[in-house]
Structures are given as C-alpha cells and as structure tokens.
Amino acid sequence: MSGNTYKTAPPHTGSTAYINARIVDPAGDNEYRGAVLISDGKIADFGPNLFASGAPYGIESVDCRGLVLAPGLVDARVHTGEPGEEHKETLESAGAAAAVGGITSLLLLPDNEPPFDDASLIEFVARRARLIKLVNMYAYGALTVGLEGKELAEIGLLAEAGAVAFTDADHAVGNAQVMRRALYYAKAFDALIVHLPQEPTLSGGHMTSGEMATRLGLSGNPPLAEVMMVERDIRLVEMTGGKMHLTKISTAESVAAIAAAKARGLKITCDTAAPYFALNDLAVGDYRTFGKLVPPLRAERDRAAVVEGLKSGVIDAIVSDHRPQDQDSKRVPFAQALPGGIGLETLLPISLELVHNGHLTLPQLFQRLSSAPARLFGLPGGRLAKGAPADLVVFDADYAWQIDRTDLWSKTKNTPFDERPVQGRVMATIVGGRTIYRDDSFVTAAAAA
C-alpha cells in the first residue's frame, strides 16, 4: 500500500459534497444512492434526494462512483505500545493503521506500562491524539490499581480526566467482592465497566480445550471458563443494579447466557472481536503463534454461535482487539508466545464477510461496527445525523484482495489473517471532515471529479 497515503490535515473548513455514494445509514437501517454534505467538519445534510440533480456549483464535490459511504468504524478495543513498548506500536502508527482500516475513533486499553490507573495517563493520550491529528482517540481507565484486581482505581478522577469506561483489559477480575464493589461504586459516576469474562483459575491454558489441544500437547483453556464468569457477572449486575459491557465473547454458552440476561432487562451489553467469528482453533494447527489470542480461538460450533449472536443482536458490537506483538514475542514455542493479534487494518474486510455470506446487511454490520460502540461508550461519531461529526469511511465492498502481513501499516505484523482472501477495501477515511486516508485509485477519481 506504499502508493497510498495517510496524512495529518488541518481542520476542515467550508463545505464538501460526497455525491453518487451508496449510503449506509445504521440508524435508519437502510441504504440508498445519495449524497452527504459536510460543512465545517460536521454532517450538514444527507439523503437520497440531496444533489440528485447534480453537484452544486461552488462547493468542492467528490464523486464516490457508487462506492459505499458509511459512518467510520468505532473500535472499542485497541492496545498500542505507547507508552511503554513503542517498538511494538506508537499512537501514531496505530492511528495510521486505523486510518487505512476505515476506523475513525478508537478506544485505547489501559494495560500499558505504566497502566492507565492515573489521570495523567488519560490526559497524555488525549494530548498525543491532538498532536497526531489522525483518528479520534479515547482511553479506558483501569478498573483496579495496577490492573491487579484488588483495589479500585480512582474511577471518578479518571472519568473527570476523560476516561470513557473502565476495564482491566485482558485481566479478568476473579474476586467477586472486588467486582461487586466496582459495579456499586461506578453507579455514582454512571461509569461503564468492561470485563473480559474468564474464570482465572480455569483459563491458564494456551489454547481452547479439545481435540486439537490434546493432539498438539498444549494445555487447554475450557470454553466453560468464559460462561462461568459471564454468569457470575450477570448475578453481580443484578445484585448491584450496575451496568457492564462484556468483551470478546467467544463461546456458544456465553451468547446464550447474555441473551437470557438481556431478556430479563439487565444492563448488560457485549462485543466480540473479529477473530472469534472468522476463525476457529484450526488456525493454531501447526503451532501458529499468530493465532494465539485471549480468549483462545474456539471450536467451530462456538464460532458459528458467535455469528448467530451477531445476527440476532445479542452481541452488540465488533472490536478489532488490536494487540501488536513483535517477532521476539511470537517466534518462540507456542506456550511461551505472548498472545494477541493486530486487527485495525483487517477489521472492515473481515467483518464484511458477514455481509458477503448473507448473515448481516450492510446497515446491520455498521450498527455493530460504528453506531452501537459509539452509543455504548458515549462517543460522538459512528452515526449519520445532521450536526454529527463528519467521521466517515468510503469503501469498495466488493474489491477482492489478499491480506499480506508485510503490507500492513502497523509496526508489528502479527495478524492471524495473513494470506486470507477478502472482499472490501477502504478508499477514503474522513475524520471531522478531513480526509486522513485516500487510496490511490480514489485520489484519481476525486481529482477527475
């Protein structure tokens, strides 16, 4: 992708019309041929009839030639190496990868070195994001001090500094009393707690339990370790009247338990990450450490259940769970490899498989990728609405290509999707009206228009 460019750009002023677009409106749950008018970084108008008789005179206009135009992706689960492990990923390299992936807002996990359990770290991220001028960046605050699951972090002060939700990242809080207090305490600030449900005493294995783990001789992490924690959390939410977002749901039983909790009216929402509906444990067959994730890739029946959960809406959102790891962390025996995969640039094409395979419509997909995460975390983007920030993505939904890890913008190349053929490619990413990424072929079209 060396020919394409991402760039920082000054604030958008004046007006730009994106015409001839296939507009995907998640809120209206529909798509149509139409136009979007951006003024001063915000969506001024949009609809099927706007500029139907041609581009207006005197306004910069971009002919989308029938490409999809949708709210930019809001990725609620991103880890970078800044601060602490900048050789793996910086906020700038993550911002660039996000721009290339059509992501306009991302939410940074707090498990850096140091962890985000102090308000100054939240302010650091906000300041760096302002300087980098790429995508919108928000941060989680730590739920407990040092992410150790013992003492509550300063949830109120972190929230005041701008933390949008609270989590211990990939560490599950095993102590029920700590989680109960956190849910109670967070109510005072209407703070959302995000939890990775894994019973810690059962989830020490290196891949999902089952035949593949047995053949490979790797210790297993049983799928039921997830639903046990989901069920505990459901009871704690019921007890406290708090609210919780469960993340990276990967098993059939968890989807069923959350569906039942939602039906009872509890304030529980959840997401899954792209690998859990696109891959199963065969991906670690040959000890491929790029497929070593937390939670581990599951069996095919679980993957299919996650797809069903996305269809039914039990699973509200899709995240990339972007976690860069360098060669030293991955080119070691499987049990010693650090878990995690990068995902910013592959989130959209992998998620589009759900559309191409007939599981979701495009508007439904953008509910999971954009509008739902924005709503859950109280972020301004992720929707088409007059006055909303002009955070948009233009993409070719059918463009066929093959993921090649060496072409990715992230500093590390640990994608579990290497060599996967996909359909769908970002042509432009617009944040606050500024075009921060444009594919070469789209530059030509825009210039010609």
Binding site: S209, R215, Y287, P333
Partner: protein, 317 residues
Amino acid sequence: MGLPRLPHLLGIEGLAPETISGLLDLSENYIDQNRSIDKRRDMLAGRTVINLFFENSTRTRTSFEVAAKRLGADVINMDVATSSVRKGETLLDTAMTLNAMRPDAIVVRHHESGAVNLLSQKVNCAVINAGDGQHEHPTQALLDALTIRRRRGSLEGLLVAICGDIMHSRVARSNIHLLQIMGARVRVVGPPTLMPTDIDKMGVEVHYNMKSGLKDVDIVMMLRLQTERMQGTFVPSISEYFHFFGLDHAKLEYAKPDALIMHPGPMNRGVEIDSEVADDLDRSVIHEQVEMGVAVRMACLEALIGGRRNALVGAVA
C-alpha cells in the same frame, strides 16, 4: 519397498503405514549388528549429529549417541545447562547458530510442545524430535512398535492398553497415532484428571479403572507419573494412585495371560509399577525396549541422512 523421503522426523501423526513398516524393517537390520562384537559401521562417516537437549535426559540422549556413533557419525552433545541458552539466547538463535556449523542432523528434546517443529523451520539439516513437551516422541513409539512386532509378529489387530498419566505424556500421543495407523486398537486407562480433553476423539477407548481397561489386552504400556509437569493436584496421593492405577500382579490378571508389559522409562517403582511385575522376565519387555531404541534410532538416522538414502528415496522422490 522404498522409504518416502523424510526431511525431518517430527512426529508419528500423519506418517503412512508403509513409512512406519519401512523404518521398522530397517531397524531389524541393526539388531544383530548391535549384538555382535563389531558394532560399528561407517555409513555416516564424516557426518555430524548434534544432540540438543533442553530437558534432562540420560536414556534417550545416550541411545541417540550410541546409535549415531555405531553408524560412524561424529556426535556432539549440547549441554543446555551450561550453554548460552541459559544466558537468554532464544531457541531460534540457538538453532541458526548450530545450523551454521553445518550439521547433518540435529536431535532435539525440548520441554515445550511444538518447539521442535519451530526449530525445524529454521535449519536446513534433518531434525529428529526426541520429545517435545506433551506433544510427540516418535522414536519411542517406533521402538515400542519394533518390540511388539518382534514378539507378536504384527501390530495388526492387537489390543493395547496405555495406562496412567496420559495427559502429560508425549509417549502416549505418539503411540496412539502409531498403533492405530498400524491397525491395533488402543485403550487409555487412568484417572479422569490425567486424561486430556476429548482424547476419545483420537479414536481410543477411555477407561477409568484398570479392571475394565486391562480386560483381554495383549499389551500393557505403563507410563511414568510426570509429577514435574503437574501444576496443582491431579491425584490425592502416590499411595492412592498406586492402589488404583499401579500395575501389580493382581491387576495384571485382567489382561491376557501372555500380555506383555512395557514402560518407556524411567520407572517409578511403587508409583505406577510394582517391582515384581517390572522385573518379571516372562512378561516384562522393558529392557528389550531400551535395546530396540538404539536400533530404531540407527534406522531413523539412516533414513534421514544415511548414504543409502538416495537409493531408498530414489523410487519415490
């Protein structure tokens, strides 16, 4: 019958029955040689074999060393305890360093499953897996098969019980693959806490007591209780384990009257096997297994790096 070309020997899983019988046939040639006064041949003269052992092992390393030397190879034993690996060098750096010294084969034992596969991707000599974590130990399964074949004529149709700590055993996994590939039926017997998840999907019968597990079996393979790999409690006590799962004459009664007793060693006497049974010369073939080990490893070295390799490979490659 030619052996298909084996670039490495990483595991039994996926090997064709012809490859396994070919290796066993080749091994037979070496048994008499090993029993004669002049044990040495020069087939591997001028070739270098490195024994790279990340895990302590006296038996297997010695067996490989004897095998390579009897074929005339130069053998270097890498003692990892005093090497740069302890100074933080990664597995792949070690592999590439040794590779640069142009060995013909590296024999690797490592405590992590998959480590030998990983190493084999980074070298351009033959790699023999001498045991990786809880994954595979192919030469052990081959020597067990050779021992059984010589006693029973064939593996086909035999009923074999593998008993004890299945979960932590690479020997069990390699044997399950090999025995089934060669047409034997396999039972695994042990407490449920030492059974890996979904082991039945590998085609074996699962038994939680010795009475039903040993009923009418032709071969009893005992495994060592690998306490060093255990995190937490898997069995309440050694005495309880021996009471229910240790092989003694009383439990051996359940098996066929002429059933053979095998053990990959080293044995924990009084833990998984009673001394009287282990030393029963009529039934126990434990020392024969050790003898066959050298022959099998000579055959593997020949198949991978032997001078006759081309002749063997020619028809297939």
